[in-house]
């Protein structure tokens, strides 16, 4: 048992396999883990007909890479991927297996460690060494507390890393041998039959290119209260966005949702109104250049990422701010 194996992710885009960008963040996390432990870093990707990705893998700063290839690995199924990666882990025998915390990983990566008598340390936001062993940091209670996790015992340690927690731009190019690994898979062992992925709406609002975003969360309480944030958005020339519960309630369309299940944005200014700042929302907006949070709870996690904070009643503050903005623009 030696080495850090990073299982990267691809998905078909326009009929061709393409990297999930979080894959390289997972590779960066793997590097951060492997270097102080003085262990080799390895990478793998699973799917079918991955020749182009194989060429990319050969340029990664790893000591070995694997293309896990089988016709039963396209399209993705939990049964297929669990069995394939299980066989790869058994062959490579790494001490650590690192995944990006994507929806696909959330789907199958719980099964895999169970087969080794292990538990996935999911959604890791940081790691450090203590006494020569790694400590993994996770967020608990919607980001209100952090927790240090440790792994012990015989099997490999499995972890997945949160979007944006590790920087892919820290990776330098390298070179390695890429081995094609063909797992033994049976069609009859794959119990689910996926249909073609689809998008609900074709006309997605492009929040990603917005310069200013005014975003609203649970704190708004009722749909009838939305005009007060719409007024502020209008005054600022901003796009209106929302956290998940607002879109789930149908108060704003799904395409205005920011977060892990919606859009990822990095505007010049992001105004979070009545948004507590659950992890799933923060990953979608913490890259904004400036963040203003307006929330009644001074301990809300949104203030962890905010540059400017107003603690108070949004129903008083937002209309007053709209008036002040209009005045400032006029002046």
């Amino acid at each position: 048992m030696n080495g850090v194996l990073v299982v990267m992710e691809q998905r078909p885009r326009d009929g061709r396999p393409a990297w999930s960008r979080m894959s390289f963040e997972a590779l960066a996390a793997g590097q951060e883990l492997a270097a102080p432990l003085n262990q080799p870093l390895m990478a793998a990707v699973a799917g079918n007909a991955l020749d182009e990705l194989k060429a990319d893998l050969a340029r990664q700063p790893v000591s070995a890479a694997y293309v896990v290839q089988h016709e039963l690995l396209q399209p993705y199924t939990a049964d297929g991927f669990t069995a394939a990666i299980q066989q790869l882990v058994a062959k490579v025998d790494p001490a650590f297996v690192v995944f990006p915390h994507t929806y696909q990983v959330r789907d199958f990566a719980g099964r895999l460690p169970a087969r080794f008598g292990q538990t996935l340390i999911a959604d890791v936001i940081g790691l450090r060494m203590e006494g020569g062993t790694p400590v993994f940091v996770r967020q608990l209670l919607q980001g209100k507390l952090n927790a240090d996790y440790r792994h012990s015992g015989a099997g490999p340690c499995f972890l997945s890393v949160q979007a944006g927690a590790f920087r892919a731009d820290s990776l330098v190019a390298g070179s390695c041998e890429v081995e094609v690994f063909t797992p033994a898979l049976e069609r009859s062992a794959i119990r689910s039959q996926p249909e073609e992925p689809f998008r609900m709406s074709e006309h997605t609002v492009d929040l990603a290119s917005a310069q200013v975003i005014v975003s609203v969360g649970r704190g708004i309480k009722e749909k009838d209260n939305l005009p007060i944030v719409e007024e502020l958005a209008k005054a600022l020339g901003a796009e209106l966005a929302a956290s998940r519960p607002i879109c789930d309630n149908g108060w704003l369309p799904m395409e205005r949702q920011v977060g892990s299940s919606g859009q990822t944005v990095s505007p010049k200014l992001y105004v979070a109104i009545g948004i507590s700042g659950a992890i799933q929302h923060l990953v979608g907006m913490k890259g904004s250049k400036a963040i203003i949070a307006i929330n009644k709870d001074e301990n809300a996690p949104i203030f962890e990422v905010a540059d400017y904070g107003i603690v108070g009643d949004l129903f008083e503050i937002v209309p007053a701010l709209t008036t002040a903005v209009k005045k400032a623009k006029g002046g």
Binding site: A78, T102, Y103, Q104, R106, G110, P113, A114, R115, G117, Q118, T119, L120, A122, D123, V135, Q139, L141, Q142, L145, N146, A147, D148, Y149, R150, S152, G153, C157, R191, S192, P194, E195, P197, F198, R199, M200, T204, L236, R244, D248, E255, S260, Q263, L269, I279, I292, P301, F303, E304, A306, Y308, G309, I310, V311, G312, A320, L321, T323, A324, A328
Partner: protein, 256 residues
């Protein structure tokens, strides 16, 4: 059909949580607890399926005595009976140990379908359901938005990233982890609350289930996150705050 809904009791969403004296878990004194929100949607999905296809909805919950209240609330909403795995060591167990315990209690019920929320709001690992499916040897699908049952098989809508979705078919029995917010939650009626008092809740002692065994993953320390950013808090009267913020927008952020 028999539907099991695995639910968890977690600290209330707006609870002011502090770490306990050992910094190994939160101080539970003076905290209020409620059903894990995604599990409330799993329960709702189970009740809707029962209404359509008839059968039985059984809620399973592991936790200390106080978890009994969350089970009663589920019964008041329409679940037929409950199983309470009475234990107060959840905070010391890893996902595999918790899933083993739940799976052992569920296996004896021989359900057609198991539903649970996609993740808990306290630990947020999002793994318990998936690991249970593995332990029970049944297929699963995660982050589910819609459930259809046709004959002996399931067709479910999975949420993928970036606004993508996908329908997946699989045979029963199966396990689904349900996305939060996919439907309107029902309230318990007065009649429901009254009926709940007479519904059966089977208590299972954790000691009667397989021992958790050695933990491979442990929560070593709990602490307040360190601020990475210096947040400037703008304070004063509402008018002052608004005026100061307008200045920030004009002269610092430069968006107006």
């Amino acid at each position: 059909m028999k539907i099991i809904v695995a639910i968890k009791q977690v600290p209330a969403r707006d609870a002011n949580v502090r770490t306990d004296t050992n910094a190994r878990w939160i101080d539970e004194q003076d905290l209020s607890f409620e059903i894990n929100e995604p599990d409330a949607y799993a329960l709702e999905a189970g009740l809707l399926l029962k209404e359509k296809h008839s059968g039985e909805v059984v809620v399973v919950c592991a936790g200390p005595e106080r978890a009994g209240q969350t089970i009663r609330e589920a019964l008041a909403k329409g679940a037929d009976r409950g199983i309470h795995i009475v234990c107060d060591d959840l905070a010391t167990l890893d996902t595999l140990a918790v899933a083993r315990r739940l799976a052992a209690a569920i296996a004896a019920e021989k359900p057609d379908l198991i539903l649970t929320g996609l993740q808990s709001e306290d630990l947020g690992l999002g793994q318990t359901g998936v690991v249970m499916a593995e332990l029970l040897g049944i297929p699963h699908a995660s982050i589910i938005m819609e459930v259809e049952i046709e004959g002996g098989s399931l067709r479910v809508k999975r949420e993928l990233e970036d606004g993508w979705f996908q329908w997946v078919r699989m045979p029963l029995p199966a396990l689904l982890t349900i996305q939060s917010g996919i439907s309107k939650l029902r309230y318990a009626t007065l009649m429901g609350i009254k009926k709940a008092k007479t519904k059966a809740v089977r208590r299972v002692a954790a000691g009667d289930l397989p021992a958790p065994g050695p933990q491979s993953v442990t929560l070593a320390r709990l602490y307040l996150p360190q601020r990475k950013k210096e947040t400037r808090i703008i304070s004063g009267t509402t008018a002052e705050v608004a005026a100061k913020m307008a200045d920030v927008l004009k002269f610092e952020v430069r968006v107006i």
